[in-house]
């Protein structure tokens, strides 16, 4: 049982206000969509939750089994996909997976990685350099990267971007799987993706 508690979050960039007083609380099984106009701070909101950006006001708290997760070890509980989070272009798909496994302390073996790549239709390209991938293929690999350590908190920033219909279906599968074991936060304006969510936080209001 995990909880994400966001209280009174506000963000300024020097003197411009992005948003303020954003609060919500989520428990395991919840899916929330963050919406808003372009430039309203959807991505920044996700980055604040992930701990990549410090909010100007308010705080983000995470609990697992009622125990607070210290800020230091938060990265082990969070998986994130975002257009700005790039993978290593000089490595192959498999090497990228190997790197993230090793760095996160997940047991790495070639066979299970191949299995995963098969599920995202990348097995043919496992040994190809990521720099040669199309944006859709990169997006699939990013989804794999975000799920590699079983995060109870899944942050998806425009998860469906550049994906074909099969890819979009698998995003749907990922979200419904996450419902059984964790929290999902989606930042998107895409109607289809917003519909996955039980509740909506609109940053433009």
């Amino acid at each position: 049982m995990c909880t994400l508690k966001v209280t009174g979050i506000g963000k300024y960039f020097s003197t411009t206000l992005l948003f303020k007083d954003i609060s919500f609380e989520l428990n395991s099984g919840d899916v929330v969509a963050i919406t808003g106009w372009n430039g309203s701070g959807k991505s920044t909101m996700l980055r604040i939750i992930a701990g990549l950006v410090r909010p100007s006001a308010g705080r983000v708290e995470m609990f697992c089994d009622n125990k607070p997760i210290p800020k230091k070890s938060r990265r082990q509980y969070v998986g994130m996909v975002a257009p700005a989070l790039a993978l290593y272009d000089e490595l192959t798909a498999l090497e990228n997976m190997e790197f993230f496994c090793r760095v996160r302390g997940v047991a790495y073996d070639r066979k299970s990685c191949f299995n995963i790549l098969e599920r995202v239709d990348l097995v043919k390209h496992a040994e190809k350099i990521c720099g040669t991938f199309s944006s859709g293929m990169k997006q699939r690999l990013k989804l794999v990267q975000a799920l590699i350590h079983n995060p109870p908190f899944l942050l998806l920033d425009e998860p469906g971007c550049n994906l074909d219909s099969r890819g979009i279906k698998s995003v749907k599968n990922i979200i419904s799987d996450q419902r059984t074991c964790g929290i999902t936060v989606i930042a998107s304006n895409e109607k289809r993706e917003v519909d996955y969510a039980d509740s909506i936080v609109n940053l433009s209001e």
Binding site: L52, R75, D89, E90, V103, D177
Partner: protein, 240 residues
């Protein structure tokens, strides 16, 4: 794209230590570097051009015998330091430019990142010294009386160079005007090390009593202190 029934893909985790994470980052950097040769090319080309320029304009006989140990030590360390400054920031700057810095922040512990990058920079320095120092000795006719002391000075000097610049590289990767800033910020920190290294190399070349190798010890102490302090400070500049 269908995850397993349990909704999960990989479930088995092993405990990772700082060192294993650092080694993973180091190996990844080496692999990227081996494929693009970005840092090593810029460092080596800088070093070779300077070496050729120095060797061409001074030659092996222009400087008097008695002056050589000192002046050659100065020239050698100027070449080494400025070549290192031309490329050692690459490992962090590249993460920033390729947009992979955030994913690294999300997946690895800061201390592990620092150690991994430090190992990578030390590897680059080892390559630089292994190529440039013998070439310099051959081209300039540099006679060294105490090779052991000289090698120890090169090793500890290289360690110090890596130790003193890695944290600065991490800072300038997140700032504007990256290129010029790296040398400007690193040089004042490196000055005591450079002075020590020149003195130590001169001593090894002269063959004056090198009992206890004091300069080697100072450089080693510099490296140890800079690494310790950097490890403590790095999380502050790495995390928001």
């Amino acid at each position: 794209m269908h995850p397993t029934k349990s909704g999960r893909w990989i479930t088995q985790t092993v405990s990772s230590t700082y060192l294993s994470e650092a080694v993973a980052i180091w190996l990844r950097d080496l692999r990227s570097e081996f494929r693009t040769r970005y840092a090593v090319n810029s460092i080596l080309m800088f070093a070779l051009t300077t070496l050729v320029a120095v060797s061409f304009s001074i030659g092996s006989f222009r400087i008097e015998e008695s002056e050589r140990p000192f002046l050659y030590a100065v020239l050698l360390w100027i070449i080494l330091v400025f070549s290192a400054l031309s490329g050692l920031s690459r490992s962090f700057v590249k993460e920033q430019e390729a947009g992979t810095m955030d994913i690294l922040k999300l997946s690895a512990r800061p201390q592990a990142v620092f150690l991994g990058k430090l190992f990578f920079n030390l590897t680059m320095l080892a390559v630089l010294e292994l190529i440039i120092v013998p070439a310099f000795i051959l081209l300039m006719g540099y006679k060294i009386i105490f090779p052991g002391c000289f090698v120890a000075m090169m090793v500890t000097g290289g360690l110090g160079l890596g130790a003193g610049t890695t944290l600065v590289a991490a800072m300038i990767a997140q700032a504007n005007a990256r290129g010029a800033l790296f040398s400007a910020l690193s040089f004042p920190l490196l000055l005591p090390l450079i002075i020590t290294a020149i003195k130590g190399s001169e001593r090894a070349a002269y063959g004056i009593s090198a009992a206890g190798w004091p300069e080697v010890k100072i450089a080693a102490a510099y490296a140890v202190i800079m690494i310790t302090v950097s490890l403590l400070l790095f999380p502050l500049i790495w995390e928001e």
